[in-house]
């Protein structure tokens, strides 16, 4: 199979295999790690009998493969469950119910996903602009004061924990200057303007940190490209340094930047925990950390799968992007 269609097909199969592998790993990990799920669900003072009842209720006594099989079944045909007073159906693809809150995992994820996506996409735009921008600027003004200052700033951003940056930003901007409200998630669909205003600080905090990586990466690949012969051609034709740096060197430097971005985007969907926690954004990262801490396996699997999906998606998009950026690369 060749061409874009083949690529899509291979990628889809690869994605499914990856996600399955991820779910198996999570199941196994949670099987072997300490933490008595039934006891945690039931509460610390539950009696052994109650714990046992809860374990039965949650099918925790079944062997691992049976539990995993149920999970797969749920994905394909859905799953019935009891609320005590009635029987409800969780329709396919059903990721199961949270052990802790009895809510459908998929609906938990769906309410939180927009938050994480809002946070990460906005931050990504910023980190790309800031990161690639500073990278380009520091190449253009290389060896001068501008470059030194920029290098210092981005690295300071990189070396400072998000927590500190975020908190300081929040105190100064929201507390002292009162330029922005203390961030609070507003749905995009409710009020796009407030959505953006409220996310501005989280975006900046996340982006300030991430952009350092992009700045460094952009700068170093651009310097590489600047050593190539074709750059000499444009110099010899009087093309200004700005265009040489901003067009020719940048374009040649994109591959690693795209790769880096794909990864950061994907993993930030589930990994922006600190930012989400600090700003009280009810996103997937926060949910994941909480779910892990209370050994809420269905939620963990669900979130990890969704995040995994984004990682894979972002990487697939990245692969297409480099094939577009560099026509010599063939999609595999």
């Amino acid at each position: 199979m060749n061409g874009f269609g083949g690529f899509l097909l291979r990628r889809t199969i690869g994605t499914l295999a990856t996600l399955l592998a991820i779910s198996v790993i999570v199941y196994v990990v949670f099987y072997v790690t300490p933490g008595n799920v039934a006891q945690i669900t039931c509460g610390p003072r539950c009696s052994p009998e109650q714990v046992h009842q809860v374990a039965q209720q949650l099918h925790l006594d079944d062997p691992l493969y049976v539990r995993y099989w149920h999970f797969l079944q749920g994905l394909v045909v859905g799953q019935d469950y009891s609320t005590g007073t009635s029987v409800e159906h969780c329709s396919a693809p059903c990721l199961g119910l949270s052990y802790q809150t009895d809510q459908q995992v998929l609906s938990i994820i769906l309410t939180r996903l927009p938050v994480s996506l809002s946070l990460v996409t906005g931050a990504m735009v910023l980190w790309l602009v800031l990161g690639v921008g500073t990278g380009v600027l520091s190449v253009w003004r290389r060896g001068r004061l501008t470059e030194r200052v920029l290098t210092g700033l981005t690295l300071a951003g990189w070396a400072t924990p998000v927590f500190v940056i975020g908190l300081v930003l929040m105190i100064v901007v929201c507390g002292e200057l009162q330029l922005l409200p203390f961030p609070q998630y507003v749905k995009f669909t409710d009020d796009p303007e407030q959505w953006a205003w409220n996310l501005l600080l989280p975006w900046f905090s996340l982006a300030l940190i991430e952009s350092a990586a992009f700045a460094r990466m952009t700068r170093s690949s651009m310097l590489e490209t600047l050593a190539e012969d074709h750059i000499r051609t444009f110099r010899a034709y009087g093309v200004g340094e700005r265009s040489i740096v901003g067009r020719h060197a940048l374009r040649g430097a994109l591959a690693p930047v795209i790769a880096l971005n794909a990864n950061n985007f994907g993993s930030a969907v589930g990994g922006a925990v600190l930012t989400e926690t600090l700003f009280g954004l009810p996103g997937l990262g926060q949910e994941l950390v909480h779910a892990v801490s209370v050994v809420d396996l269905p939620v963990v699997v669900g979130v990890v799968l969704v995040v995994g999906f984004f990682v894979v998606l972002a990487n697939a998009v990245a692969d297409v992007l480099y094939a577009v950026a560099d026509r010599r690369v063939v999609l595999t």
């Binding site: 051609t233 444009f234 009087g238």
Partner: protein, 530 residues
């Protein structure tokens, strides 16, 4: 005031004095050729005219004035104004001189817009126009291709087009036709001539091809070791050279009408291609770069491949060595169908720049095949590499140098040395001597012949220089548009061409005598206008 005034120019790279006390002038509308041995400093002079040594490690002495600008003292901004608009340069390594990420038309348009206030659209139209002028067929749609989709000759023409785009007062062309077949070469030289007549453009032509010089300039400067050997009007220098070196140079020029000493080609077929086809692009844009080509190469023989630029020679060569999978057909080596590469079948790449790793010393690159074969003794490796370097006319001491420190011709010889290091049975040489001055070229050709006799080496010799091909080939295949239009023993093909295209090619071979050249040009022009 002269267009170019160079006085006592010296250029030093580290301890190496590449140009040593060179002076010359070039008037507006005049044409000067720099000829001379490979590595004699020609490209260095050309770069110096545009101030391209600024900011590199090179040290310059003397003065340079181009179109009223004192290049040595000019600021960056002044240099930018000079470059491209008043003086444009065609680089010696055209294949690596274009940005691989942008469409060719866009790159030309960009340069055009730097110097004129043209709109994007107008600049794009201008790009198509100049591409068309340098003979890129179907220029409008080809202007959207990226450099790797162009053949070597097409890239070279694209660079010439770029240089012409702003109608500069001075054109510096560093080996502008090395990758062009003779018909296109003639076309380009004619174009330069016309432009010179029409716009009063000055031309500084750097070339090792005395024929090309003879055809296109009115003055010649012969260089050696960074110094002037002889300079004067073209007829004088080429017709009645005063210096022994110049005479030596001229006598080494191969002639297309000279038949070759036949090699002892044996019967054994080493390489055989049948029904080879290779397509590029897909969907509507798909086309066959090589189409149903079958050929055989016997032990110890040389198969010359000539043909128009873009006719599929490189593509064919890459398939023969196994670097490119054919879309259809197969390649048989020693009678066995073969997949992938085999060190016994080597290639000399058309682009000497990109075929050398910029981060490895050339010695290491040449040693690769030795090491791959399992040679571990450093001393023996060094010895062999030194020997190879010397055989191609370089020095053993060049082992430690990096590719960017070599002149164009030197790099090309490094490529040959590397191919030889593998002790191959077949070498596909893709324009192996295009950047070499005639003396070095003769040396390399002699070397190949020698090896052929010693080792029974079979050669596929791709070149646009018909004279050289005749000199080395037992048999010749003529390619056009992906197909072989004519094939046969060299003498037959040269003396009694059957295909009209072959005839056209032979008619376009540049003449050494400037007078003959001028006559021929006039004839061609009449033909074109008729």
């Amino acid at each position: 005031m002269s267009l170019v005034q160079v006085t006592d120019l010296t250029v030093e790279f580290g301890d190496l004095r590449a140009v040593d006390g060179l002076s010359f002038t070039l008037e507006r509308g005049a044409a000067l050729a720099l000829v001379g041995e490979s590595g004699s400093g020609k490209s260095t002079v050309a770069s110096a005219l545009l101030g391209l040594h600024h900011g590199t490690g090179a040290r310059l002495g003397g003065s340079i004035e181009v179109a009223g600008t004192d290049v040595q003292d000019a600021s960056d901004a002044e240099l930018r104004k000079l470059r491209g608009a008043k003086a444009a340069m065609v680089f010696q390594d055209p294949l690596s001189s274009l940005d691989p990420y942008y469409a060719i038309g866009d790159q030309i348009a960009e340069v055009y817009r730097v110097h004129t206030r043209a709109s994007r659209r107008a600049a794009r139209a201008r790009a198509v126009e100049v591409l068309d002028r340098v003979g890129i067929p179907d220029a409008r749609s080809r202007s959207r291709s990226r450099p790797h989709e162009f053949s070597g000759g097409m890239r070279q023409r694209a660079l010439i087009a770029m240089a012409l785009a702003c109608e500069p007062e001075l054109l510096i062309a560093d080996e502008p036709t090395t990758a062009l077949d003779v018909t296109v070469q003639a076309q380009i030289l004619d174009l330069l001539h016309t432009l010179r007549e029409e716009t009063g453009m000055g031309l500084l032509l750097v070339t090792h091809d005395v024929g090309v010089a003879a055809e296109s300039v009115d003055r010649v400067l012969v260089m050696r070791h960074g110094r002037v050997v002889e300079q004067g009007p073209v007829a004088g220098v080429l017709g009645a050279p005063t210096q022994p070196y110049t005479r030596e140079l001229l006598s080494a020029v191969p002639r297309v009408d000279a038949a070759r000493v036949p090699s002892q080609a044996s019967e054994g077929v080493v390489l055989e291609a049948s029904g080879l086809r290779r397509e590029f692009g897909r969907g509507k844009r798909a086309f066959a770069a090589v189409d149903d080509v079958s050929l055989t190469v016997h032990r110890g023989e040389t198969l010359g491949v000539v043909g128009e630029s873009g006719s599929g020679k490189t593509t064919l060569g890459r398939m023969l060595v196994g670097l490119l999978e054919p879309t259809a057909g197969e390649v048989r080596y020693d009678g066995h169908a073969r997949v992938g590469v085999n060190p016994a079948v080597q290639m000399v790449f058309q682009d000497p720049v990109s075929s050398l790793n910029p981060r490895r010393s050339v010695g290491e690159s040449i040693a690769d095949p030795l090491r791959a074969r399992g040679e571990h003794d450093e001393g023996r490796i060094r010895g062999r590499v030194t020997e190879l370097l010397e055989r191609v006319g370089l020095e053993g001491a060049h082992y430690q140098r990096y590719p960017h420190e070599f002149s164009g011709g030197q790099r090309q010889r490094v490529g040959i040395a590397r191919a030889l290091a593998a002790d191959p049975r077949v070498i596909v040489c893709d324009e192996p001597v295009s950047a070499l001055d005639v003396t070095t070229q003769a040396q390399v050709v002699a070397l190949l012949g020698e090896l052929q006799r010693e080792l029974g080496l079979a050669l596929v010799f791709v070149a646009h220089d018909l004279a050289v091909v005749r000199q080395v080939s037992d048999r010749v295949a003529v390619m056009r548009r992906g197909r072989i239009v004519e094939t046969g023993p060299a003498d037959e093909v040269y003396d009694n061409p059957q295909d009209p295209y072959t005839r056209q090619l032979l008619a376009a071979v540049p003449a050494l005598d400037p007078e003959v050249a001028a006559r021929r040009r006039a004839a061609r022009r009449e033909l074109a206008s008729a």
